[in-house]
């Protein structure tokens, strides 16, 4: 006799009962949470390793890293990262929160590169939030 002879998931009938569906879906949810949870744990570990490595390398290395932008601006960007950083910096300064001065450069990235699914929504948002 095999250890796990069968599972509901693999023998789900074409029209399952609600109870079977519930069990099947909760199993699926467990699969998703376990998979992304494992990833979260691994990525957290990864972050700690990199933080440790960074510390050893000292402040020189960190400075160099900050100086180099991760990507050159994609062609066709309307707002250059530099301009955006300046704007964000100004906003942050006005609010007296210096944390944003650094983050702002990174903020420019996804907003410009994830335009793919965003193009259609631009105009709707244009008036409602800082771009």
């Amino acid at each position: 006799m095999p250890l796990f002879p069968a599972t509901l998931a693999l023998t789900l009938p074409e029209y399952p009962t609600l109870a079977d569906s519930l069990q099947y879906q909760l199993t699926g949810f467990l699969v998703v949470v376990f998979t992304l949870g494992s990833l979260a744990a691994l990525v957290g570990l990864l972050g700690r390793i990199f933080a440790a490595l960074d510390k050893r390398r000292g402040p020189a290395g960190a400075a160099a890293k900050t100086a180099l932008p991760a990507h050159p601006a994609a062609p066709g960007d309307e707002i250059s990262p530099a301009i955006l950083a300046a704007i964000a910096g100004a906003v942050a300064a006005a609010l007296g929160d210096s944390r944003f001065a650094i983050r702002s450069v990174q903020m420019a990235d996804p907003r410009q590169n994830l335009v793919w699914s965003a193009e259609g929504r631009r105009s709707i948002y244009a008036s409602r939030h800082v771009r």
Binding site: P16, S21, V43, G47, F100, P110, W116, S117, G120, R121
Partner: protein
């Protein structure tokens, strides 16, 4: 001249008149045989549906890159075209599109010489969906366009992306109650994942007869995220929660991003192998993006591949929307279930954030970013930002919300893999 019946009685008329009548007869017969007669009420109704989709795509700007090609494909599917698409009515009255027939000659030397392949233009182009080639290629481009930095900087947000899949799961139950079978229920549930390519990938595998309805619902609701989500977000959060300021995100190095891409590839494929085509291509595109030494390939992924494939993907989805398939009560149910899926996904993400806050009091998550876990990149993240600023104008949640936002892409691919592994034939 026995074949020209209409002119039989006019033998005595002078020749030019005969010819004119012959031509007129042929003219009418041509149109009678080839055209208007084959217009059905389903076709005419679908023209109205196409009009609505064009309105949403062009005027309302609902995901126009997809809705415009889908609507145009649907228009072509509901005209009596020739040489465009070959359909086949199945036993259950549904129409199967993309039918190819090979004509050939077996050779004495053992092979089979292909003499001709019968099929219209979209019988060939549609293979990109039928053979599940287009969605992974779109994911290659999406990976090349996505920055996973905010996710890497705050890996807890992966759990928000997982929780937002609750909408997918709950909708499966609802669809089952409404009479859909398991394959169809999974395809309908995945609308809640707010990931077009994943929805198309899963549906073309499990329930191709629902492809049009699922794709249209998915892309329409993705565009409606700014209307659907805010009320749910506000209902499930307190004013105090909405004002939570999150710790600033650390800078993530290039190497860390590269390791992340490989880690996701390996982990997800090991756990859910059926998610491989989506996750593998997503992370290939992302690796090309982050490695910094393959600019040419990155640009090809971000522009040429994704743009060209999107035209063919969109129109191919549309071409499946023959009236016989689309004009069924099912379609309305799918659209109704789709919005439920979106709402539940939003709720799942927000509640998961509140749950996580029970365990980490020192570094709390603003639950408004939980809703971004449904994907709909980057719209859902912007909704988080806007709602956050309504509570506290100085609170910048956008980058924090990008974490669950891109995590939702991975989460939906994982649940799709689960469905394929268990329900795929």
């Amino acid at each position: 001249m026995e074949r020209r019946g209409a002119t039989q009685h006019l033998r005595l008329a002078p020749r030019p008149v005969t010819i004119l009548l012959d031509i007129l007869h042929d003219f009418v017969a041509f149109f009678q045989l080839t055209a208007f007669s084959s217009v059905t009420w389903q076709m005419a109704t679908m023209w109205v549906v196409c009009g609505v989709l064009f309105y949403l795509g062009v005027h309302k700007k609902f995901e126009p890159l997809l809705l415009v090609p889908i609507a145009f494909g649907a228009l072509l599917a509901n005209l009596p075209t020739e040489g465009m698409i070959t359909s086949r009515v199945l036993a259950d009255g549904l129409v199967e599109t993309g039918v190819l027939t090979v004509h050939g000659t077996p050779l004495d030397t053992g092979g089979f010489r292909i003499d001709h392949i019968t099929g219209g233009l979209y019988d060939f182009l549609y293979q990109g969906i039928k053979l599940e080639i287009f969605p992974p290629l779109i994911f290659l481009g999406i990976g090349a366009l996505t920055d996973f930095g905010p996710l890497i900087a705050n890996p807890r947000t992966l759990l928000l992306g997982a929780a937002a899949q609750l909408g997918v799961l709950a909708t499966f139950l609802g669809a089952g109650l409404l009479g859909f079978n398991a394959q169809q229920s999974a395809s309908i549930g995945i609308i809640g994942g707010a990931d077009g390519p994943t929805a198309i990938f899963l549906t073309s595998k499990l329930a191709p007869e629902l492809l049009g309805a699922v794709a249209v619902a998915a892309y329409t609701y993705m565009a409606l995220v700014p209307l659907i989500q805010p009320p749910i977000m506000r209902a499930l959060t307190t004013a105090k929660e909405r004002k939570i300021r999150m710790q600033s995100l650390r800078q993530v190095s290039r190497l860390e991003k590269l390791v992340f891409a490989l880690l996701v590839t390996v982990t997800v494929i090991l756990l859910v192998p059926a998610a491989a085509p989506l996750i593998g291509m997503l992370m290939l595109g992302n690796f090309l993006r982050e490695c910094g030494v393959t600019e040419r390939l990155l640009k090809a992924s971000q522009t040429e591949i994704i743009n060209v494939v999107t035209i063919f993907l969109g129109t191919s989805v549309g071409i499946t929307m023959a009236g016989e398939n689309f004009l069924r009560p099912q379609t309305l149910l799918i659209i109704a279930l789709g919005i439920v899926a979106f709402g539940l996904g939003t709720a799942g993400g927000v509640l998961a954030a509140k749950l996580l806050n029970l365990f980490s009091r020192r570094n709390p998550i603003n639950p408004l970013i939980g809703s971004a876990g449904v994907s709909a990149v980057p719209m859902a993240a912007r909704v988080s930002q806007v709602e956050g600023q309504k509570a506290d104008p100085a609170n910048f949640l956008l980058m924090h919300a990008m974490g669950p936002n891109v995590a939702g892409v991975i989460g939906t691919a994982v649940i799709a893999g689960y469905y394929i592994a268990t329900l795929g034939k």
